[in-house]
Symmetry: none
Subunit: 252 residues, 2 copies
DNA sequence: CCTGTTCTTGCACGTTTCTGCGTGTATCGT
DNA sequence: ACGATACACGCAGAAACGTGCAAGAACAGG
């Protein structure tokens, strides 16, 4: 057991489980607690962990484990993300929109899933680094600060060169009459460009979006394959949508 | 047992098992530990492995995930980033490479600086969201997991459509004879494409990079305007570089 | 074929670094 | 307040390290 190996092991434990208990690690690796403590002391000196009585914690909880990160996303978005992630088949190609719900989808995808993810969101591209088998293609362009995604002519043009099996799109408004809407015209255009490149388009909409409308129309109902939401299927708007032939994928 | 054979064996072991223990290899091959140590020392000098007490590790261990690597900025990189940020004039256009040092530059740029930042790194694009007046243009392409940047044909093509005043490039090796090097051929090509689109190119190299070399050449000395480093100006390699006409920008 | 040179290799030596144990101290839970 | 546990420090043995040196192999030139 190399010293550097031990260090890596400790950092791995910190990232995976969010904590390290000196006693347990010593027992697991068959080394003395002193060595573990020494390593933790060194790591803490380099700012790579935070030393506490009994072991150590990650320096910033943000980089910690998967479970705590997903827990901070609101319950509704997590449900929607879980349902959406179930639509992604191994080996398929997925166009993923920007926004917090789409980010939750990226984090919810199985870590060992082999698929192609196409996105115009640098945040989502960065999150997909955690998925070693996923092929990530980033659509470039001018970054719109408001939503942290690439938009504009260059981004739309880049989107013309890809195609995918499904497209998961976030919107800010879902309304029976107004349709699917968002707050920015450029973003709306970009979302249309993305949806046009996939065989099936699904809308990610946690319950608070249902029944509201924003200024710019993204797509008409005919162009989408389904709506993924955690809203009650008995919700009046949901029933209206079903009457219009929109498939509702319930996320519970 | 040929010397070259031993080297290959060691590199194979590193790739296959993620580590090399000098003692074990010596016993397996029936040679002295001294020879193994000598080989490892040579490989480390070429940047092909990372020497540790007891053996060696691959130069970029998969165990150290990107999140933990980015969470801390060593002192040297912060100094280099500060010096580099000072080169960026208001209203100018900057091409920013990927990597932890470049990320430190992005974070060091004045929050209210109005400039254009062009990058192929989603991480850096995401970090630039914090700069409300900066215009960010993201170069798309296939994401290389190892360094979390867009590379490949699409990214190089996207780079052809931009130009900038200065380009800040990170490398893994700075060596008087070997020049500026990095560990991946695609990355090297991408860095060349970026450098070609800027009037001036500066290299970001914290002191631990000085005097080391990796496998793939990025640029010859003639193509760069300067080297930004926190290494001692009296460092023998620094003096050699100055003798070759390379401008050294000291970061203290 | 012989000879001188260069390079490699293994060994010996002194030095540095690591690791586990003992001791005494600090901190925690009750 | 008290026992239990975790901790830091010092120490000694062990392991790994770098360096100098000499024997041997590979090679080029005469």
């Amino acid at each position: 057991m190399l010293a550097a190996e031990r260090r890596d092991h400790l950092l791995g434990l910190l990232a995976r489980e969010g904590k390290v208990v000196a006693k347990n690690v010593a027992a697991d690796l068959g080394i003395s607690e002193d060595s573990v403590r020494r390593d933790l002391r060194d790591l803490a000196a380099e700012g790579l962990c935070h030393r506490v009585y009994g072991g150590a914690l990650p320096v910033s909880p943000a980089v910690a484990d998967y479970a705590t990160r997903t827990s901070v996303t609101p319950d509704g978005k997590r449900k929607v993300a879980t349902r959406a992630a179930a639509l992604v088949r191994p080996g398929s190609a997925l166009i993923l929109d920007g926004g917090t719900t789409a980010l939750a989808v990226a984090r919810t995808l199985p870590p060992e899933l082999a698929c192609t993810v196409i996105t115009h969101s640098p945040t989502i591209a960065a999150a997909m680094i955690e998925h070693p088998l996923a092929d990530v293609f980033l659509l470039g362009g001018r970054i719109f600060k408001h939503s942290a995604v690439a938009c504009g002519a260059a981004a739309v043009e880049a989107a013309q060169n890809v195609s995918a099996d499904i497209c998961l799109l976030g919107v800010t408004g879902v309304h029976p009459e107004a349709g699917l809407t968002t707050g920015d015209a450029e973003e709306a255009a970009m979302k249309r460009a993305l949806a046009a490149r996939a065989a099936d388009t699904y809308i990610l909409a946690s319950s608070e979006k249902i029944g509201t409308a924003s200024r710019f129309r993204v797509l008409p109902w005919e162009d989408i394959s389904g709506l993924i939401t955690d809203a009650d299927p008995g919700h009046p708007v949901a029933e209206q949508l079903m009457a219009r032939g929109v498939e509702i994928l319930a996320a519970d």
